[in-house]
């Protein structure tokens, strides 16, 4: 299949369509408004639904309503908008509906800035909504990977009856790279008749379906949350995804980094190699569930002295890394949190500081 040069935001929109999702609700926010602009033209061409909602709060419930009646549906936003949507996300998790949320992160807190950031890591992986609420969180490092993750996200959301989040830094949305849309990632929607409120006639049933998150009886709520926990535990078994780089060497330093930042680290690793300094990388592709075992094993290699978390935030993933490494190696942080993406040279300096002269 031929490649096309596309901006990440537009490629994300197209990927959803290629994945069989023809329903999109959104509210504009930099740096991802191109998704809505693209789909406002593209959805009518494919007979799909495009609607610009009045707020991110409302959009999150348009997603809920559509998802609850069994249709594939998604939205995109950026950090402050995701905060507003997080109310709806919690209800969607509680009501066990599949949906896809894309967060093209910008700096915060508050209005922050509009430049690239990875500062919503903790929000996405630990605190997306009130209650015992978790999402499968996928972190693309290129426009092509963003396309593939968007396409994979819909069947995964249906597998778990839980929202999936694509967490990309601003560059993933703003960069142009060549992409293809792999046909094998197109999946038919799953049968949702056993739970979806799609109308009794639609499923030729005399039994009504109810989509809800309210369980006033403590035993019933406990049982409900344990069902959710079983799904999160299953994600931990089945959805660990990561890549390693230069781990077959006797590296002194292990970097853990994701998204665009991980590619900057790879360049730094290549240049350091030429200077006879070996550094390895574990790049999580999903950050919930986190590849704890892979990080522990890579950090435990006898040559490895230090672990470095490189993030465009003041150090958020570092908490997952520390948990994984279990105190066996010191874990350090390097990053920037204002919108400037660290260069390979700056990552090299951070690495070299850890190496005794």
């Amino acid at each position: 299949m031929s490649k096309v040069l596309m901006k990440g935001n537009e490629a994300i929109g197209e990927a959803a369509i290629r994945a069989g999702c023809l329903n999109y609700f959104a509210y504009p926010i930099t740096p991802q408004s191109e998704v809505a602009e693209y789909l406002s033209r593209r959805m009518p061409e494919v007979g799909g639904v495009f609607l610009q909602g009045e707020s991110e709060v409302a959009v999150s419930y348009m997603i809920f309503g559509a998802a609850a009646c069994g249709e594939r549906v998604f939205t995109t936003s950026s950090s402050p908008g995701i905060s507003l949507m997080s109310e709806g996300v919690s209800y969607i998790v509680g009501a066990q509906c599949p949906a896809v949320f894309v967060n093209i992160m910008r700096g915060g807190p508050g209005l922050g800035g509009i430049l690239p950031s990875q500062a919503d890591y903790l929000q996405a992986t630990k605190g997306i909504g009130h209650g015992d609420c978790r999402l499968l969180v996928m972190v693309p490092a290129s426009v092509q990977e963003a396309v593939e993750m968007v396409m994979m996200a819909f069947p995964l959301a249906e597998k778990y009856r839980n929202p999936v989040m694509i967490l990309g830094d601003g560059l993933i949305g703003q960069m142009m790279e060549p992409v293809t849309f792999p046909d094998h990632l197109k999946t038919p929607p799953s049968n949702k008749n056993d739970w979806a409120t799609n109308g009794m006639d639609t499923r030729k049933s005399k039994t009504r379906n109810l989509v809800k998150s309210l369980y006033l009886d403590p035993e019933a709520l406990n049982a409900h949350n344990l069902r959710l926990k079983a799904k999160y535990d299953r994600m931990r078994e089945e959805e660990i995804r990561y890549e390693t780089y230069n781990t077959d060497t006797d590296y002194q330093i292990l970097i853990v980094s994701y998204g665009t930042m991980s590619r900057v680290c790879q360049s730094a690793i290549d240049t350091l190699k030429a200077k006879k300094i070996e550094v390895a990388l574990v790049r999580p592709q999903n950050v919930f569930p986190f590849p704890e075992q892979a990080v522990l094993e890579a950090a435990s290699k006898s040559s490895c002295r230090h672990v470095l978390s490189v993030e465009m935030s003041m150090g958020q993933m570092i908490e997952d890394i520390q948990r994984s490494v279990q105190g066996k190696r010191p874990v350090h942080w390097y990053g920037k949190c204002g919108g400037d993406v660290p260069t390979p040279e700056e990552v090299m300096e951070a690495v070299e500081k850890l190496i005794p002269a």
Partner: protein
């Protein structure tokens, strides 16, 4: 002898949790009758609010979703946009719709979303214990306006039906009451009309229903009915405020 009165088919046999004298049960029945009458229960999805009616899905026999506080119109939008063949209604109280959900209802109405909203106005937050609502009457005492609603501080009650009727988009906007048989007959007709417009894919349809809350008003059911008639009806006049036919092309 022929049977002349029976439970609507899409109303379940479950006994309701509503307080004695509450008019929710009557309004549920009017909704169920309209749905039976139009034979649409197999393709209807209701949306429950947050408030006393959060559990209203226990009393209907068709598909239901449960919304967050005030967000039912956004959920209904989501359903109608992706499944325009389904019949969708929201059932909301005054705290839900006129306070936290004002943005959602105004924008859904203005987009002309083709669903139906039944708005139950009893001037208080019932479920949480009788706090002041945007529709609480001047000087009315509630648990958060213990000296009576002070309009100098919090403004006058919001007339939601008038507010929505002021939008330029064609719609059916009506205000009715469930406080006496005479009014209930008219409310039944309006609710049926609202669903009829939806079946015809005509427009957004909205029926406000003046209602009572004897428990939180601290009145007997009979006194509550009298109070609503005397205090609410003059401020919240009844009747159709707007029909799609009444909107002329400009």
């Amino acid at each position: 002898m022929a049977k002349t009165f029976s439970r609507p088919k899409c109303l379940s046999e479950q006994e309701t949790h509503y307080c004695p004298g509450c008019t929710h049960g009557i309004i549920h029945r009017l909704v169920a009758e309209a749905i039976d009458d139009l034979q649409i229960s197999g393709r209807t999805v209701g949306i429950a609010p947050v408030g006393c009616a959060v559990l209203c899905y226990n009393y209907f026999t068709f598909d239901f979703q449960e919304a967050a506080h005030g967000r039912a119109p956004a959920m209904a939008t989501g359903i109608k946009r992706v499944r325009p063949d389904l019949i969708v209604f929201t059932y909301q109280g005054d705290g839900d719709l006129a306070s936290i959900g004002m943005g959602e209802i105004v924008h859904a109405a203005n987009r002309g979303e083709k669903f139906t909203t039944v708005f139950v106005n009893n001037t208080v937050y019932g479920m949480t214990g009788g706090q002041m609502a945007p529709t609480t009457m001047p000087n009315q005492k509630t648990t958060t306006s213990p000296f009576g609603r002070n309009v100098e501080e919090v403004g006058m009650p919001i007339r939601v039906a008038e507010l929505l009727a002021s939008l330029a988009t064609p719609a059916y906007i009506s205000r009715q009451a469930a406080i006496s048989p005479k009014y209930i007959v008219r409310a039944k007709k309006a609710i049926r009309q609202a669903f009829q417009y939806q079946v015809e894919k005509r427009c957004f349809s909205f029926v406000e229903v003046i209602s009572t809350c004897p428990t939180n008003w601290g009145m007997t059911p009979a006194d509550a009915l009298k109070w609503a008639e005397k205090t609410m009806i003059p401020y919240y006049p009844l009747g159709d405020l707007k029909t799609p036919e009444s909107v002329k092309e400009e």
